[in-house]
Amino acid sequence: MSEPSSPLAPESAERVEAAAATPTEAAVDHEAQESASTRHMKASRKRIVLAGLGFAVIYAAVAMRLVSLGGASDEHSEALASGRTQVSTARPDILDRNGEVLATDIKSSSLYAEPRRILDVEEAIDALGSVIPEMRADEAIRKKLSSKAGFVWLRRELTVEQKRKIFRLGLPGIGFMEENRRIYPGGALAGHVIGTVDVDNRGILGMERAIDRDMGLDALHAAGFAGEREMKPKRLSLDIRVQHVVRDEMVEAVQKFHAIAGVGIVLDARTMEVLAMVSLPDFDPNDRNEAFKKDHINRATLGVYEMGSVFKTFNSAFTLDSGKVTLNDVYDTTPLVFGSQRINDFHSKGRALTVPEIFLYSSNNGSARMALKAGSEAQRAFFERVAFHRRLETELPDLGLPLFPKRLSDVSTATMSFGHGLSVTPMHTAVAGAAVVNGGLFLDPTFYPRTRAEAEAEAKRVLKPETSDKMRYLFRLNATPGTGGSGSKADVPGYRVGGKTGTAEKIENGRYSANKRFNSFLSAFPMDDPKYVVLTVLDDPKAESGGDGPATAGLNAGATAGAIIRRIAPLLGVMPKYDLPKGTVASN
């Protein structure tokens, strides 16, 4: 037996000795021994428990620290997340019908700092100052960096070069974030159609808003998704070249005739695609503050106006369509009197006029008599078919509700025949005009491309094709020089322009004012097979010279429409044709 080395060994040796002694003695001794050993045992157990407890405390501390570390919010990623929510989200590009960019996102890097992670503020400022010198002297930046904030923007939209240099500095707590910035290369070119976005790149106006609505971008943005998605560009029906021409000519006309406002619309007569829409004064969507100025409302689709004599187009159309009026009928043009109200003619010929003459000389009384002959019901039915009683159903969010008389009466029928007593938007007028000349098919306009097949499937017939043929004849007659038609200024040799002028008197202080006008010209070309409808509107134009000369629609709105058609017809691929024998084209 080897010498035991444990502290318990002497005890066990005594126990062995005790066992060898007498039983009684041994028993007594044993008891004593027993109590001693249990005492020892207890002491050692205590020590073990103590040690165990010590370890348990240590492990508990470790575990608690782990839990606290695990549960602790990460300041860094929190700071980044707060920054990321401020970053503008991506949007789909907007293209015109030929793929030209109307609106796009460009990436720009912005510089941010997490002041809590910056080790030495002075050093950081010094280093940043070596790239962007004015940062060195900037007290605001020093204050930002010394603060205890989690996240601060230092500079939005760095150049590529600056970003590279700062990146090379390798400063802790300084980082970059990619941002999207919406730009509109055309500026004010098509502000009212495209609309604009807010700081967070969310559409707030025009087609930008419509796109958000259609694609559910709002919801995506709220859910925090829209940022990284690749989005297919949106193609509009707009043609950037036509849009430019219309705007160019309208701006010139508004200046030349000192008009308050102007509207120019070009529609595809078959598909009702909007090729161009201008409302002056307009705004540059790059400057979103401008968009909501009161003067910058969209007059083409939101503003409602008494369109005046252009409505004789619709009057002639539905009266001829009713069959109760024919082109050869003759109508008295003496003033109609309804109680205290009396209808006057601007250009009274002092004799009875045929239906084409009424159209050409824009006789209010003749038109009113035609309308009364065809009946109020027929007039109302036609106006409702071409949507004069409701908002147009199109993509643009700002759509005006026409002011349409609730009750039928002879007075309203008579006044509506020449475009007074009801107010519609210029877009209503253009679309209805397209329906009149395109063979009698009505369709709500669209700002997205639409094929003819799609359009034909959706279109509703509002006029008989024969009526549309007659209307084309009247349109062309009115714009042919030498017939005395009011639209002769709009004619462009070769492009067979047809149109109807409208010179409405504006209501001033509750009365129609003779020297405040609302001029418009509804035209289409080429009249043998109308492809495009052009509507020009000038609000309160003056005579060109600035004097008191005439300021009727034919002289301003009509001439402007002619100038527009002259420039857009070649762009749109309309071949000029002459009634002259072939070969003379070349020698011209």
């Binding site: 030209e100 960019v101 796009t104 996102d105 460009i106 990436k107 912005s110 962007i132 004015e134 923007w153 500079r155 939005r156 939209e157 150049t159 590529v160 070069e161 600056q162 590279r164 910035r181 730009i183 290369p185 055309g186 500026g187 070119l189 950037i240 070249r241 430019h244 021409v245 160019d248 790059n286 400057d287 503050n289 462009v492 040799p493 070769g494 492009y495 002259r566 420039r567 017809a569 070649p570 071949m575 000029p576 072939k582 070969g583 084209v585 070349a586 020698s587 011209n588």
Partner: protein
């Protein structure tokens, strides 16, 4: 015997470990490369978007119209008149040329100044008749006014109302700079900096 097997297994294990380590290393390198390429693709894509925006800025009808109006004396570009458009049927048949007739000056319009101007080659479009080129090249070298108004995207952005862009260096020229500094290689490089393709073709020859 047993010892031999053991040694063999140990050797196999070591080799296996080595291969796995190498694979892992390779995979890490490949991942890094993928990340690098992805970053590059993103940069390129952003650059393309920026260049597209710049192109559409430069190509705005309004700007083009201003340019043609400003340089009207040289370009003499006018709006197209309807009379300038005709179909092929409008062109009269070529009159019979006498057999001994002087040979028509063939060649690109514009190179033959006097002949082109004098010849009745294009009766359908007199206004489109080629212009003498000598007049142009002289004037083009000295434009009446400097064309310093090129709207680059940088200048465009500088004009925009913005929050954090008070003064400071403009962003003009950021795109070309980026293209010269590494990741962006949108334009073909000049021959001197082009990756050595000739050498590789020589190597090909050697291999053959």
């Amino acid at each position: 015997m047993m010892r031999m097997i053991n040694f063999l297994l140990i050797a196999l294990m070591l080799i296996g470990a080595g291969i796995v380590y190498d694979l892992k290393f390779e995979a890490e390198k490949a991942t890094a490369k993928v990340a690098r390429i992805n970053r590059k693709i993103d940069t390129e894509r952003d650059a393309i978007a920026t260049l597209k925006a710049e192109w559409s800025l430069l190509n705005q009808p309004k700007r083009l119209q201003e340019l043609t109006e400003r340089h009207h004396a040289y370009l003499e570009l006018d709006p197209l008149a309807p009379t300038q458009i005709g179909s092929i049927d409008d062109i009269p048949f070529k009159p019979a040329v006498p057999a001994d007739g002087a040979p028509r000056p063939a060649g690109a319009p514009g190179t033959t100044t006097a002949a082109a101007a004098a010849s009745p080659a294009s009766p359908a479009s007199p206004a489109l008749a080629p212009r003498p080129s000598s007049k142009g090249s002289v004037k083009l070298a000295q434009p009446e006014r400097a064309t310093d108004h090129a709207v680059t995207i940088g200048k465009f952005l500088d004009r925009l109302p913005s929050s954090g862009r008070a003064g400071g260096p403009t962003t003009t020229g950021s795109i070309p700079k980026a293209s010269s500094s590494g990741p962006m290689m949108l334009m073909p490089l000049p021959p001197s900096t082009r990756p050595a393709t000739p050498r590789s073709s020589e190597q090909m020859k050697v291999i053959r």
